[in-house]
Amino acid sequence: MTGPQMLRFALALGLSAAVMPAGAAEDTHHGHHGHEPPATAAPAQQAPVPQIPAPTDAERAAAFPDLDGMEHAHGMDTPDMLYLLLDQFEWVDADHGGALRWEAIGWWGNDERRLWLRTEGERADGETGRAELQLLFGRPLARWWDLLTGLRHDTEPGPSQTWLVLGVQGLAPYWFETEATLFVGESGQSSLRLEVEYELLLTNRLILQPLLEINAYGEDDPARGLGSGLASTEAGLRLRYEIRREIAPYLGVSWEKRHGDSADFARQAGEDVSDTALVAGIRLWY
């Protein structure tokens, strides 16, 4: 990262702290106000009250031995972990030739704070057509949702550009894996991306994964062929077989369509407005 990018990333981290709802961070109050007697009070019992002798000093010492600071070690939280998911790593057999496409996420951290990595892109004819990398800071926002803030850097298409990122991701009702992300670019460009995924178990190892992604932009960006408003829709259907949970080859189809001004830009450039392709790839995670 360059100096200004670093600064922006730091700002983004600050932002994420500021927008955290109080409840998420301060739920550590010890609340025992659930006391209530059982339905019927205990009947009076006749057994004698036990004689519990006062402890001796030796017993007190044995009860609270000197642990030499070790007591804190026992209170350690779940250790930081690393997760990497190469969700799509595939060969795309498109109308105008083949391409290699990837989409991956990863995180490092614990339950309360994680550093996230997201990357996706495409290479065809030995050239990178599209590549972006997001570095985000994530915290739990609600039961099923995490809040992510950070930076996105695109090296392609067109001149490279950097965005501020504010995103929500999680599990919507009925098991829809959902990501809604707002990007604000250096030049004032803004963009919204919505991604929804579902996993349909044909068997416990054969899994059909439909996916839908929608991109919208705040203003025209002719240099990159992007028009304001709804710009593109992408749908995919991938059938994978989990040889192990971590290793799953797949086959599928992907369908892309450009809308509005973006479609016009594509037509002007002599490109197709919609594209259907077969894909074959592998899904891996650690």
Binding site: Q45, A47, A62, G75, D77, T78, N204
Partner: protein, 566 residues
């Protein structure tokens, strides 16, 4: 199921400790009474070390005591003072906790709470007087060593004659072995909690249900679970996919065998020393008379089957009349595998092994949601006292680490449990357990401490009241007081809750003393209470005995001191 799968569940016939103490596996198979090795007396030297084992065809390093898995059975005598010099030959700190034994806190063996742990190369001398008798066990309380083999049976012979007779006495210790590094198992659960569940509902199940129940009911049920983002197949976090279930350290294929002469009464001391697995135990063809639970004598009750939670113990008596073999069948609660052994008049005999029962599915009622009509409710909004006076702690509300709250929990003491109802067999319930002695502390509890068992399946976080151990203040008990601990299970899983140092005197729904236990099992949707006499000064562990739940935060310190209770 292919051959490899079958082999995995069954393990190797000769699996186990490859080198160590010189007793061949064949020797165990001939009915060695207590598993690998028995030590008696009042002075013991135990060495924690590493031993190569092979349960699946792949050699692995186990953590062992005196080179065996399980470790040696210790036979003590009530009233004796025992001394145990425990030597640690591991490269990491280790510990031994004497599960269910009353003792001074610095003998309890919980690093960071009651002692510093046993450093590599070090020795710790445990010494305490035995104030109880019965069937117990001991295990490591350091990191995940318990999963790799550091557990063993513990028997305290009573001073007074027992109220039942038997001719033979066998320990049946059940456990779960994985070839994986337990830290990797934990990491997988954190990243993908359904990793080990290959019993999830599929499209085929939906189509079958549609044919059976009709389109609308089948779909409505799927939508209800989907709305809650829960799965009715969430029975066990870790399954037979990785586990080989062991009986006295022997695989199902190895077939641990206990010998008998027809007509003898055999006492079987069942101990669940698994890290994560509940077992449903039966011996087809034999009735089992339960005479003790967690080491405490109960009014005998005769059953066909019982569920044993992690860390619980049950003593049963069986009387095989025929000159025939009987299978001791202990299927894992999620039906993904089983531990198995044989009672036989002669070595080498075996009986038919039952097929595991069908897959178990949770219902809304199981989780304390009072039936299907509650589907589609906003569970996040069910915060405060809307149902039957149930209040959830404020720390659960808006807490991203709490995925659900029960609405209508009930004691369910007479419920055989998920997957055991109406199976045509007489199944033991907590309602059947009646102590042979009265409440030893006749006082009515002076106060009630309520704790909710909480968690988040998808984040794989477990806690009490939504607060993980790392963020929690100790629970404070005042020395000498009699109090009630009430537990409400707000999760969809079953948790065996264990209090160290003191007894948990289980009550019925009317607050009447039932039975004295050290581990109280809490199925989903239950609210159960027990009384505690805080007669043991010190800092005690209080936790779920599912190893990875404890590791993920379902743990509290209970501090008993002479100050006033708060």
């Amino acid at each position: 199921m292919g051959i490899s799968r079958r082999r995995f569940v069954q393990g190797l016939a000769l699996g186990g400790v490859a080198a160590g103490f010189g007793l061949s596996r064949a020797g165990w198979g001939k009915g060695y009474p207590d598993g690998p090795q028995t030590l008696r007396g009042s002075e013991f030297d135990l060495t924690i070390g590493e031993t190569t084992v092979n349960y699946t065809g792949r050699p692995r390093i186990a953590t062992t005591i005196n080179g065996t898995l399980p470790g040696p059975t210790l036979r003590w005598r009530e009233g004796d003072t025992v001394t145990l010099r425990v030597h640690n030959r591991l490269a990491q700190t280790s510990s031994i906790h004497w599960h269910g034994i009353l003792l001074p806190a610095n003998m309890d063996g919980v690093p960071g709470l009651s002692f510093r742990g046993i450093p590599p190369g070090g020795t710790y001398s445990y010494q305490f007087r035995l104030r109880q008798s019965g069937t117990y066990w001991y295990h490591s309380h350091s990191m995940l060593q318990e999963q790799t083999g550091l557990y063993a049976p513990l028997i305290v012979e009573p001073r007074e004659p027992e109220p039942f007779r038997y001719d033979r006495d066998y320990v049946v210790m059940l456990s779960d072995w994985t070839d994986e590094d337990p830290h990797r198992v934990f990491a997988k659960l954190k990243k993908m909690p359904e990793y080990y569940n290959f019993n999830q509902q599929t499209l085929g199940d939906l189509l079958r249900d549609i044919r059976g129940e009709g389109f609308r009911p089948a779909l409505a049920e799927r939508l209800m679970w989907g709305q809650m983002r829960m799965k009715p197949t969430d029975i066990a976090d870790v399954s037979g996919y990785t586990y080989t279930y062991l009986m006295n350290g022997v695989t199902p294929a190895g077939n641990w065998t206990g010998l008998f002469r027809p007509g003898e009464k055999i006492r079987l001391r069942f101990i669940n020393g698994a890290a994560m697995s509940f077992f449903d135990v039966r011996i087809p063809g034999l009735k089992m008379t339960v005479v003790a639970a967690d080491g405490q004598n109960v009014h005998p009750v005769t059953v066909d089957e019982f569920r044993i939670g992690v860390a619980e113990t049950y003593d049963v008596i069986v009387e095989p009349d025929a000159d025939a073999a009987y299978t001791i069948f202990a299927q894992a609660q999620d039906r993904s595998g089983y531990a198995r052994g044989t009672l036989a008049p002669r070595a080498g005999m075996s009986a038919a092994v039952p097929a595991p029962d069908p897959r178990v599915l949770l219902t809304m009622a199981d989780m304390g949601h009072g039936g299907m009509e509650h589907g589609g409710m906003d569970h996040a909004a069910m915060g405060h006292g809307a149902h039957g006076g149930l209040t959830h702690p404020a720390s659960e509300t808006g807490n991203p680490m709490v995925d659900m709250q029960t609405m209508m929990p009930a004691p369910k003491l007479d419920d055989p449990g998920i997957g055991l109802r109406d199976n045509g067999r007489r199944v033991l319930t907590y309602a059947d357990l009646k102590s042979l002695f009265d409440d030893p502390d006749g006082r009515t509890p002076g106060r009630t401490v309520t704790l909710h068992l909480t968690g988040h399946m998808e984040r794989y976080v477990w806690s009490f009241d939504g607060i993980k151990f790392a963020d929690a203040e100790p629970l404070r008990f005042s020395y000498g007081e009699r109090l009630r601990v009430e537990l409400v299970n707000d999760t969809m899983m079953e948790h065996p809750i264990h209090l160290h140092g003191m007894w948990s005197d289980l009550e019925d729904e009317h607050g009447r003393f039932k039975v004295r236990k050290h581990t109280v099992n809490m199925p989903p949707g239950t609210r159960r209470s027990f009384r505690v006499t805080a007669d043991a000064l010190g800092r005690w562990a209080f936790h779920c005995h599912l190893l990875y739940h404890m590791e993920a935060g379902m743990f509290r310190e209970v501090r008993v001191d002479e100050g006033g209770a708060t």
